[in-house]
Amino acid sequence: MKVYQILDIYSDQNGINVWLYNEKERIHIKKPYQPFFYFRKNESVKRLLQKKFKNIKIVKDIKIDLIDGEIEVYKVIAKNPLTYNKIISFIKYSDIFTETDFYNIQLSPETLFMFEKKIYPFCKLEKTEKNGRCSFKKIDDLDLLDYEILPLRIMYIDFELEIGKENLRFLRHIPTLTIKFNEDEKSIVIDNDLEYLQELLIKKDPDIIIANYGDDILIPNLFEKGLKFLNRDNLPVIKKEGKSFVSYGQTVYTADMSLLLGRIHIDPKNSFFYKEVGLDGIIELSRISSLGMQAVARTTIGTPITYMEMRNAYENNFLIPYKKNQPEDFKTLEQLIKIDKGGLTLKPLVGLFENVAEYDFFSMYPSIITNYNLSYETINCKHPECEKTLPYTNYRICTKKIGIVPQTLKWLLERRLKYKQLLKKEKNQIYDNRQKALKWLLVVSFGYLGYKNAVFGRIESHEATTSIGRQLITFVKEILEAKGFRVVHILTDSIWVYKHDYTMDDYKKMEEYLNKRINEKFTVVNPDGIPFKILLEGVYDWIVFLPSKSDSVGVSNRYFGKFSNGEFKFRGIDLRRRDVPEFIKNFQLEVFEHLSKGKNKTEFLKLIKDIDEIFNKHKQKLLEGDFSLKDLIIKKKVSKDPNSYQKRTDLSEVAGTLLKEGFNLNPGESVNIIYILDKFVKAMPLEIYLTNPKPINIEKYLKMLEESKIGLLPKKLFGNVLR
């Protein structure tokens, strides 16, 4: 009996390819597969598809539509993935079909295969042989928290640069590579020796390649130069072009992707999840979403959620709508003004406070979605017997069945809680990475309800979530104020309060009381929901809420404070910003190190007097040239096509210089800026500066240092402010 784990699954023209691994071997299984999809019963569509495609079979079926219930459909079974992909693109790109009539066509053959067989990446399989035929049986459970990952062979490719922050894209050469197999082994240096690299690749046969700039530079270059067996079966590397898009008002650029077959390639520079939660987190997400590891590493956070929801729908026998036929409900202007809102914020009282407690709701929005059964199909459902309405929005809510979104989120919430409980018992980096990965999914899960392209999104459930959230935090505020607390700040699911002479124990007791009152008051729709939980994040020895730069009004989420356990919390200050150079961060860090000795308001005020001394020290360093170039780099994102800048700014100058040097920039890409003294330009990209240095504009950097000091201690802070 042999046990394997799934490393990679992909489809080719004829079927599905599965790569399995264990301590001893890697095996490649090819399986013929006939993918399928559905469409609403429609004879002319049936005739058209039959006429155009020979390798398909169309049969009648009855399936459940999320909104309409049981409906008659046609199931289209393609002979192989090649035919399947051809039909799908025909449907998607021709305008003769009504897209809302089609179901499940967003599933790739391999995803469908995984959904159907109830397997996923890193699922454990047992191999049995009978009469010369071998078969595999799943011996894994998705609910497992302490699942085993058999040892993987990992190859790290990296390179040293003089200054750690350059963007390799703007350099003209590929530097010397440093190769390492599994973290603890010694590294091997390879300088332009492809043959040796080839030898290593074949001999060590890694399962995972982790390469900085692998996606758009290293892997494509190595492949073009003739490196073989990057893919385990020596097929060409799959290249997908990068793209720019706007998300929450920010232009984001995802670089080109280089995907391997039978091997996993991860580019840390192009992977949000790798940076945040490492391989452990990516494996966790890959398992729970049935998305391949390479896809998880490169995807935006919402995709794993969507895949989990789709799998849930599939397993519950529901059809997965391709495009929803569910426009936003009609609303009067009065209704719209009432409900089209986000979370509640109360602007902070500006200034210095002591003994302030911060209470945060545990996953507030996911809890609301789960407890109130908020989903695409449950709001204003078609069951006449569902009469219960939601508070504030008055939308009717389904009480007959639990929606796809709440089902998925409940599972996620409980899973994360279990990991956190395990972590309380013992420290475990793997569990911590896994729970952090789940946290990210929970964070975006709510946004996905309101996103029009999300499969199970619906604006009404989004509105209901925020409105219940506002009621929850208002309820907490009312209780605390009635008990004599002063509310300093509210931000959606967090509240900062203080009460004279209150101790940590008193605040802790108040947490218990709040939880009891909240769960008494908010009677939920879903009996299997998860109780609401508000937690004492901590009590601050001192905390400073900063005002806006233009007036003295407090700004949400701009503060710094020190908890009684010595930990700091910073939001919105230079230390947290990516467009602030290192030397300013060093200055602020030193200030906070100094302030850490302060245990209350009085001590803080005494210590803060030394800020000028620290400031002068850093100013002197700048004036005397006691800094390294990397301390001066300012990272900024290009928000649009570099050719379309009309005003002359540091960013447009840098983008222009790079363009002139032959580097094409995509909107959303970052550039490294150095301020210089020059007749024609005020800023230069670091990568060009390295080969063509100019005098540094110290004045400019001094001004930034000055502003950073004022940012921490604005004149208005202790004077005439709104209190």
Partner: protein
């Protein structure tokens, strides 16, 4: 949030912009007072957003009044304190 309706802070900024011609016709010292009044309103913008009014200017003026009343109360308390000190 469909962002069909501007955010609470957005409403106050929008109104402040609408009154820019009014502001232009004021003396310099009065302009500063007007800016301060709008800062008062910004402080209460979440409440203005929660008031669900077609015409938010009423809530904006109420917010300004709240802060002015707070200022009066604070000054009154200060005077009383000073008087009690001088009486003793």
């Amino acid at each position: 949030m469909g962002k069909t309706i501007p955010s609470a802070t957005g409403i106050v900024s929008l109104k402040q912009k609408e009154y820019s011609e009014f502001r232009k016709a004021l003396r310099k010292e009065d302009k500063e007072v007007l800016d301060k009044l709008f800062a008062y309103a910004k402080f209460h913008s979440p409440a203005i957003g929660c008031s669900n009014q077609f015409f938010p200017m009423e809530s904006i003026i109420l917010s300004m009044l709240i802060e002015m009343q707070k200022e009066i109360d604070r000054l009154k308390a200060q005077i009383e304190k000073n008087e009690s000190v001088s009486n003793t």
